[in-house]
Amino acid sequence: MKPLKLVGTLGALSLVLTAVSCSSTPSALSPANPVTITFSSYTYGVQGAAGTGTQKLLDAFAAAHPEVKVVPQSIPTADVLTKAKTDTAAGNPPDVVQIGYSKLAEAFQTLPVQSLEQIAGNEWKDHVSGINQALVNTGKKDGRVAALPFTVSIPTLFYNADLFRKAGLDPNRPPTSIDEVRTDAAAITASGHKGAYFGVVDSGKSDYLTQSVIDSAGGSTVGTDGSVTVDSPEAVRGLSSVQSLTRDGLQPAVGLDDATASFSSGDLGMFVVSTAVAGSLQKAAAGKFDLRSAAFPSFGAGKAAPTFSGAGLIVLSQDQAKQKAAWEFVKFLTSAEGYSIVTKNIGYLPLRADLADDPKYLKDYFASNRLLLPPLGQLAEVSPYRNFSGQNPNQAVVILQDDAVAPIVLRGADPQKTLSAVAGRIRELSGK
C-alpha cells in the first residue's frame, strides 16, 4: 500500500509544480484549414429561448466564417467560473468564456484573460464605437479592455396592471420613485394582495440589485479609490427604505423564488428584478394578467441609477491563431447583427444605441415588445457594476448579500449596525 500511496501523492504534487506551456505558431485563417476554438457559455444548451437564441448566433457565425470552428460547451450559470478555473488548472482553458459581471474581477485576477484591444489591433476603434461605453469600460483589465458586453440586463419594475386597477390605481402611471412604490404597494395590499417585492436578495448571490438601490440612493458599494463604502449613509438609507416596505407589511419577507411564484400567479403587484426574466414572466402572465414594466425607481432626490447584470465575453487563448479566431467570434457576437439576434431571440437588451431605432435591426421588434422599452431608456445612463478589490471579490459579495442584505431586508436587522459590521469584514478581506 505504501509505495502506491507515494506514487499517487508524487503524481499529484507534480501537477501543481508543472507550468502550463503553449506553443504558438501563427498562421492565416482559412476555410480549408479551420481553427477550432471552444466557447464556454451558460446560455448555450439552455432549454428555451436562451438556448435556441445562442444556437442561432452560432449558426449565423458558422455560415459567415467557415475558417473558424466553434465548439460550444453548455455550463450552468453558477458554475462558469468554476469550470473555467478547473480547466485552466488542468492546462486546458476554454478559448472564449461568457462570464458573469459579478465574477469578472475574479476572472481577471486568476485566469489568463487576454486584452481584446491588443488582439483586435487596428480593428478595435471602429468595432467598439457604438457599443455602450459604461459597459465597455467595465471590462477593463489593467487599463485595457479585456471583456466586451454580451448578454446584459438591468433591473426594472414589472407590475400587474390588473392589480393596479383593482386597487384603484392608474395602470398607465406606474411609480417612478421608492415613495410612490410605497403608496401604490399600500393600496394593492389594502385590496387583498401582496404589494411590492425588490429582488435584492438574489438567489445567485449577486449584488447587482443591491448596487442599483445603493447607487440610486446616491451612494456606492465601492468608492472611486477602491475603498469599501457599503456602510455609507446613502447605502444605509437605500437599504432602509427597502426594509421599511417589509416592516410595514407591503413587501413579503420571502426569497426571490417564492416571490417569482407569487408574481407569476398574479398575486403580487410590483416586482423589481432583472429584465433577464421578462420572457418567463411573459409566459406565465399570458392570458392571465396584464403584465407591464416601468423604469427602475429613484430613491430620494437624485435620478435612478441602476447598474446591470449579465455577462461579458473574455478570451483566454494563448495561441495566436486561436486568439485571432476568438476575436473573429467575439467581434461577430458583439456586432450589430450579433446583438440583434441576442435581443430578438433571448430578450437581453441591445448594447448598441442605434439598433432599437434601426429598421434593419430591431425597430420592428421594439414596436411589438413594449416590455423592454422602459429599461432600454435607462440603459444609456446605467451605472457601472462595481467589483470589490482584493483577492476575494466574490467572497465579499456573498458576505454582503448573506450577512447584510438578507437579514436587513427580510428579517428586520438594524441597517446601520449590520452594514458597518459587514463593511469591516469586507475591508479585512480586501486588505483595505
Binding site: T151, S280, A286
Partner: protein, 278 residues
C-alpha cells in the same frame, strides 16, 4: 387463541396499513407533486393547486423534441452501471478476502475503509480532478468511472457483513472438495449474498446517477453530458421552466424505477422462491 383475541389481528392489520400508507405518502409526495406539475401549462405552474387542470402534454412534447433525453440517459447509464459494477467487483473480492482468505486483515482494512469514507469528498475533488486530467482521462468514460471507484469503501463495509453471514461449513465443504478460492466465491458465496449485492448495487447506481459536480468537471462536451447536468439546463438566468423541468425529471427517473423494480424482485426473491407468500 382466545375468542376475545379475534379482533386483534384485524386491528393490527389496519394499523399496519395506516403506518405504511402514511409513511409512503409522506415519502412519495414530492414525487407525486413533480408528476402532477409536469402536466401543467406555463400559466398554471405557479398555481397553488396541485391538480394540473387543464392538463397538457406540452411539457413532454417540448422536452422530447429539444432535449437529448436518450443521449443523456445513455451517458448516465454507462457511467452509473460502470461505477456500480466496478464497486461491486472490488467489494465482493475484498469481502471474500477479508472473511475467508485473510481474516486477520479485516480490522485494519475495514478501518481504512471507514477513514476513507470520513474524508470529505468536496475536499479531495480538486486533487482527484488534476490526477484524472493528468492521466488524459478528461472527456472519457474512464475519467467518469474510475475515480468514482474510490467510494468502494461503502460497498465493502456493507457487503463484508453479508459474506461473514455465509455459513462457514459451506465454504469449508467446497474447499474440502478441492474448489479453488475463486470457485468457492463464485459457487458458494455469490449465490448466498445475491440480495445484498443487488441492494448495494442499486444504491451505488442511483448515487452515481445523481452525481453532479464530477461529471460537470470531467465531461464538458455537450454530447458527454449526464442527466443532472442536462436538468440544470432548464434553469437559466432567464428563470426556470418548471413544467419542462418536472417532465424531464420524470422521464429520466423512469429508467431508475425500472432498474429498481427488476432488482427489488430479486432482493426479496429468496423467500418468494421458498413458497412462503401468504
Amino acid at each position: 387463541m382466545h375468542p376475545t383475541d379475534r379482533l386483534r389481528p384485524a386491528v393490527a392489520h389496519a394499523l399496519w396499513h395506516l403506518v405504511l400508507a402514511g409513511a409512503s405518502l409522506a415519502m412519495a409526495f414530492p414525487m407525486l407533486w413533480s408528476l402532477l406539475t409536469s402536466f401543467k401549462g406555463p400559466q398554471d405552474v405557479f398555481s397553488p393547486s396541485p391538480l394540473p387542470w387543464p392538463a397538457t402534454l406540452d411539457n413532454y412534447a417540448a422536452v422530447l423534441s429539444s432535449w437529448p433525453v436518450g443521449m443523456l440517459v445513455g451517458n448516465t447509464f454507462i457511467m452509473s452501471a460502470g461505477v456500480a459494477a466496478g464497486q461491486l467487483v472490488i467489494a465482493v473480492l475484498a469481502g471474500f478476502a477479508l472473511v475467508v482468505l485473510a481474516p486477520r486483515m479485516r480490522p485494519a482494512v475495514l478501518s481504512a475503509c471507514t477513514i476513507a469514507l470520513a474524508v470529505p469528498p468536496q475536499a479531495i475533488i480538486i486533487p482527484q480532478f488534476l490526477l484524472t486530467t493528468r492521466l488524459g482521462w478528461q472527456n472519457s468514460e474512464l475519467g467518469l468511472i474510475v475515480p468514482q471507484l474510490g467510494t468502494s469503501a461503502l460497498a465493502v463495509l456493507l457487503l463484508v457483513e453479508h459474506v461473514a453471514a455465509v455459513p462457514a461449513a459451506q465454504i469449508e465443504a467446497a474447499a474440502l472438495q478441492g474448489a479453488r478460492p475463486i470457485e468457492t466465491l463464485w459457487h458458494v458465496v455469490l449465490p448466498a449474498i445475491r440480495p445484498a449485492i443487488l441492494a448495494v448495487g442499486i444504491l451505488v447506481f442511483i448515487t452515481t446517477w445523481n452525481e453532479y459536480l464530477w461529471p460537470l468537471l470531467i465531461a464538458p462536451r455537450s454530447h458527454d453530458a449526464t442527466v443532472q447536468i442536462g436538468l440544470a439546463q432548464f434553469q437559466g438566468e432567464g428563470g426556470t421552466d418548471y413544467g419542462a423541468l418536472m417532465a424531464a425529471s420524470v422521464l429520466t427517473s423512469l429508467p431508475i424505477v425500472v432498474v429498481y423494480i427488476i432488482a427489488s424482485r430479486r432482493i426479496i426473491d429468496s423467500f418468494i422462491k421458498a413458497g412462503l407468500r401468504p
